[in-house]
Structure formats: C-alpha cells, structure tokens
C-alpha cells in the first residue's frame, strides 16, 4: 500500500514538473536578467523544501526528547538527509545565478554564508550520528544537535532583511516584483518539490525501519 502511494505521488510530481518545465521554457525572458531569471522556479522551491525539512527535523527531535519514541528519531534523520540534498541544489543553482548577475560564483554575504553554515550544520548532524554507536545516546545527542542547528534557519530566512546583502531582497515578501501570470508555475513547482521531498523522506524512513530490523537480527544472531 505504502509503495503504491509513493509511486502515485512520484508520478504526480513528475507530471507537474514536465508540464511546468514546458510552460516555463515558453515564458519570455525577464527584462533585466534575461533567461537566467527562470532559475528562480527551481532555486526558491528547493530552498523552501530544504527549510521545511529542517522545521520537520526540529519538531521530530523535540518529540523524540519528550517521548523517547525512536520513530521520531528515524523521521528526524530521514528528513534532515533529504533537506541536505535540497539545500545543496539550492546553493548550486544560487551560485550559478550569481555568476551571471554578479559576475562571481560566491559572495560571503549574510544570506549565502548562513545558508552554507546551515548545510554544514546538518552535514555535521549526520556525521555525529555515525560517530555514536549506542542507539539511545545517538538519538538523544542528535536530537539536541538538531534543535541547536535549527537556530540558523531563521537567520537564513531573515538575513536579507536584517543586513545589507549582495543577495537581493525577497521577491515575494520584500517588495520585489514577480509577474502574476508566472505565479501558478512557481507554485506548482513548489508543490512538485515538496512532493518529491515527501517521497524521498518516506523512502528514507522505510530504510531506517529496515536498519532497525537489521540491528535486531544482528543482536539475535550474536546472542545465539
């Protein structure tokens, strides 16, 4: 049943993306930036998906610390790993966009730096998990680390409001202009990215369940 839901969601996401890509390529170039502006249709949705994943990881980590239920720990690691992949896609698309508009791949401004720090923090979270063998200790330390790592997320979001940055002001909530006719394509792309993120998380969550089963079988084999 779960497999069927995953395949269904995947097919739906792919259909949305194909339809969107065809329409986006047909849109006229933006007046000031030209064709490269169309990267916004991927750059922002992958960022929103990554930061949503970080928020889910925070909630799952808090729930693990409160309930000590390992399902929440599995959810936290699954969603963090998926968020990391999306944040990497966001950093790479942003860097290529910057190369065309600013003439450089990278600028050490508040937005870019805090996003990179965010990526490094969550990569550190995954490394921390590999370093601790005992499951309860690993889950507890990882949950605490995840809660602290989330402090960087509001900094990433609001950095362009709090400081003067090379990165432009927010297009959607900071006075930027985005053609209203383009908005549906952007929103559908966002839905597709969130769906892909959900599918990845569910798949990764199933792997965590398999890992627990494997650990149990290993203990059983060891005790025999």
């Amino acid at each position: 049943m779960r497999d069927k839901i995953l395949y269904g969601l995947g097919a739906f996401a792919i259909l949305i993306l194909i339809n969107d890509i065809v329409h986006i390529m047909g849109l006229p170039d933006e007046v000031n930036q030209g064709a490269i502006f169309k990267i916004i249709f991927f750059h922002v949705p992958v960022a929103i998906t990554a930061l949503t994943a970080a928020a889910v990881a925070l909630i799952a980590s808090v729930l693990f610390l409160v309930t000590k239920n390992f399902v929440y720990d599995a959810l936290a690691v699954a969603v963090t790993e998926v968020g990391l992949a999306f944040l990497a896609a966001n950093l790479v698309t942003g860097s290529l966009w910057g190369r065309v508009i600013w003439g450089v791949y990278w600028a050490w401004d508040a937005r870019l730096t805090s996003a990179l720090v965010c990526w490094l923090l969550y990569a550190g979270y995954l490394m921390l998990r590999h370093a601790i063998e005992e499951p309860t200790q690993r889950a507890t330390f990882a949950a605490v680390f995840s809660i602290f790592a989330f402090i960087d997320v509001p900094i990433v979001i609001f950095s362009i409001k709090w400081w003067r940055t090379q990165h432009p002001q927010p297009v959607f909530w900071g006075g930027g202009s985005f053609p209203s006719a383009w908005l549906p394509y952007f929103l559908w792309n966002l839905v597709a990215m969130l769906l892909i993120g959900t599918i990845f998380t569910m798949t990764r969550l199933r792997q965590e369940e398999s890992q627990r089963e494997l650990d149990y079988l290993r203990r059983l084999a060891h005790s025999m």
Partner: protein, 72 residues
C-alpha cells in the same frame, strides 16, 4: 527627409551591439541549463545512493535471516 533617415539610422543598434546581446543571451541560457542540470544531478545522485543503500539493507537482512533459520 534625408536628415531624419540618417538620424533614425544612428539610433538603430549597431552590428556589434546585436552580437553582444546575442552573446549575453547565449551566456544566460548556458548558465540556466548548467543550473538545472546541476540541481537535478544532485537529486538523482541522492536517489541512486538511496537505491544502493536499500539493496544493501535487503541483502544483509536476507543473509542474516537465512543464517538464523539454519541455526534453528
């Protein structure tokens, strides 16, 4: 009339301007495609990593189950 035509011709973009604009547009498209390819490549690599991990887990679980059944 001749003066107006000459003035209008002066206002028209030169061949160099058109070539520069063409170059800028090509450059833009090039980087747009790099960006999209890179973003999808990251996600595809992640999917491949998940597939390989899934296969490894299934293989290990099947091996351990077979071993436990043999011991029984």
């Amino acid at each position: 009339m001749n003066l107006i035509t000459s003035f209008a011709l002066l206002l028209q973009p030169s061949v160099e301007d058109i070539l520069l604009e063409k170059q800028r547009l090509q450059h833009n498209y090039e980087f747009l495609s790099y960006g999209l390819i890179a973003a999808w490549l990251i996600l595809v690599v992640y999917v491949l990593m998940m597939v390989s991990r899934e296969q490894k887990l299934k293989k290990e679980i099947a091996g351990l189950r077979a071993m436990l059944e043999e011991k029984h």
